[in-house]
């Protein structure tokens, strides 16, 4: 009897949460308060890591592939176009866009575990470099006069073509 009550209670909680989640409205995004602390982590990248060049820099498909990866793994925290979200800082910020590709790769590999960003070494190295290509392309797109973060092309299931270097 006790066991069945416990099972039913637990399953009920998870069921309720699932249903609330199913009907949720996208919450408004607002500035992540600890952005500066996270940006400071980029500066901690060792010189050797910072000096690494993106081996996919000239790969024409790297940005599009990176955009797909970003949509799958990063956009939930950093926003669909890197504009920042509740949990992740703005990737269009100069602290990120002016960083060496190797420093961004280093952050992806090591995460900022104490600040909430997990390690992403589970993505193979080429995929992390594809992500670096895409993150860098966001800055270039945002720098165009007629582009604001909200108008930067973003990946969608039906239209995967994206800006390229």
């Amino acid at each position: 009897m006790k066991t069945s009550i416990a099972v039913e209670s637990v399953m009920g909680v998870f069921l309720g949460v699932s249903l609330v989640s199913a009907t949720q409205v996208k919450e408004p995004r607002y500035k992540y308060k600890k952005d500066a602390l996270v940006y400071a982590e980029i500066a901690k990248a060792p010189d050797k890591a910072r000096a690494r060049r993106n081996p996919l820099e000239k790969d024409p498909d790297a940005v599009a592939a990176g955009a797909n990866l970003f949509a799958q793994h990063c956009s939930a925290c950093h926003g669909v176009a890197g504009e920042g979200g509740r949990k992740g800082p703005r990737l269009l910020a100069p602290e990120v866009q002016k960083s060496a590709p190797g420093a961004i790769f280093w952050i992806l590999t090591n995460g900022v575990v104490r600040r909430g960003m997990p390690v992403w070494s589970k993505l193979p190295e080429p995929q992390r470099w594809q992500l670096v290509s895409y993150i860098k392309s966001l800055g270039a797109a945002a720098a165009k006069p007629d582009n604001t973060p909200s108008t930067i092309p973003t990946p969608s299931p039906t239209a995967p073509s994206l800006p390229r270097h």
Binding site: V10, F14, A76, R86, P118, L123, P126, P160
Partner: protein
């Protein structure tokens, strides 16, 4: 109570699976292991709901189908907590609920290293009819599963389990080693076990197109696990061991499917264990809970 009586434990599991299919989710990049753990924890604030099934053969008795559900929550980027509910059907016998588990994994180091230690702590409350074979430990052997469910479920086991997980990823390959120590709180000696795993995606670069059957969505590997005796008699004598090729398919539609065909490596092992699992990750679980309690953020 009424719901539980009408549809039973499997029915509630199925109902929950359908409901979380409707919810918002994130694409996971899951390794294919079913028994071994790597050093990657759940992303903070996300919950992953998983269903696993094990079909096992029994040489001198009835084959069985054991199943469990996992609710895995990323409390922080360095702490993942997980709750299990498990049961089993022994053919020509009965279906029984066999217990629950609560596990916690803690990442020790804040940066990525050649080997990354993760500490694991689990409490299990289960009956003697438990057959999910989620780990190999002590001198667990196939003959332990011969008792009928009605008899086996009378035994209640409270157990703590500690693991040291050492895992690293290099050039796309993940290697992991888990060392296990388990203690039945009813005055039994510490028991030991191990799990090893290696896996790699079929392609290291992502495709520029969104696709289900691209090679990078498939991760293949192998895992091996078994018991190492107990404190009074450490070693391989009278222990069971398994080797299992494993594969995971990470779908762009946010589901992960895992398949494992395990083969017993000695006479103390089940000849064959076929396992499969289905999982889905839901983003922002923490935010949903906060909203339920009135926090508008």
């Amino acid at each position: 109570m009424v719901l539980y009586r009408q549809v039973g434990f499997p029915g509630i599991i199925l109902f929950s699976l359908i409901s979380f299919w409707l919810s918002s989710s994130a694409r996971a990049q899951e390794n294919p292991y079913i028994i071994a753990y790597d050093h990657y924890l759940e992303e903070p604030g996300n919950v992953e709901i998983e269903y696993f099934s094990t079909f096992g053969t029994q040489k001198a008795g009835n084959d069985f189908h054991a199943f469990w559900m996992e609710f895995e929550y990323g409390a922080t980027a360095w702490w993942t907590t997980e709750f299990y509910l498990d049961g089993q059907t022994t053919f020509k016998d009965s279906t029984v609920f066999t217990g629950f588990r609560w596990e916690n994994r803690f990442r020790v180091l804040k940066r990525e290293h050649f080997l990354n230690p993760v500490l694991y702590f689990e409490y299990e409350h289960k009956s003697g009819a438990d057959k999910i074979l989620k780990e190999g430990e002590g001198r667990d052997v196939e003959a332990d599963f011969l008792a009928r469910n009605a008899q086996a479920r009378k035994e209640h086991i409270n157990e703590v389990e500690l693991k040291l997980i050492l895992s690293g990823t290099h050039k796309g390959w993940n290697f992991t080693e888990n060392t296990l120590a388990a203690k039945n709180l009813a005055n039994s000696p510490w028991e030991f076990g191990y799990a090893l795993g290696a896996s790699r995606p079929l392609a290291l670069r992502a495709s520029a197109k969104r696709c289900s059957f691209c090679r990078q969505n498939f991760i293949a590997g192998v895992e091996m696990y078994g018991g190492l005796g107990n404190r009074r008699s450490f070693g391989l004598h009278e222990t069971s061991h398994y080797m299992a090729p494993v594969v995971a398919w990470n779908l762009p539609s946010e589901w992960t499917l895992r398949l494992s065909a395990g083969f017993g490596l000695n006479d103390n092992s089940h000849r064959f264990l076929l396992r499969w699992g289905l999982s889905r990750e839901i983003t922002g679980f923490g935010s949903i809970i906060r909203r339920l309690f009135g926090d508008p953020k």
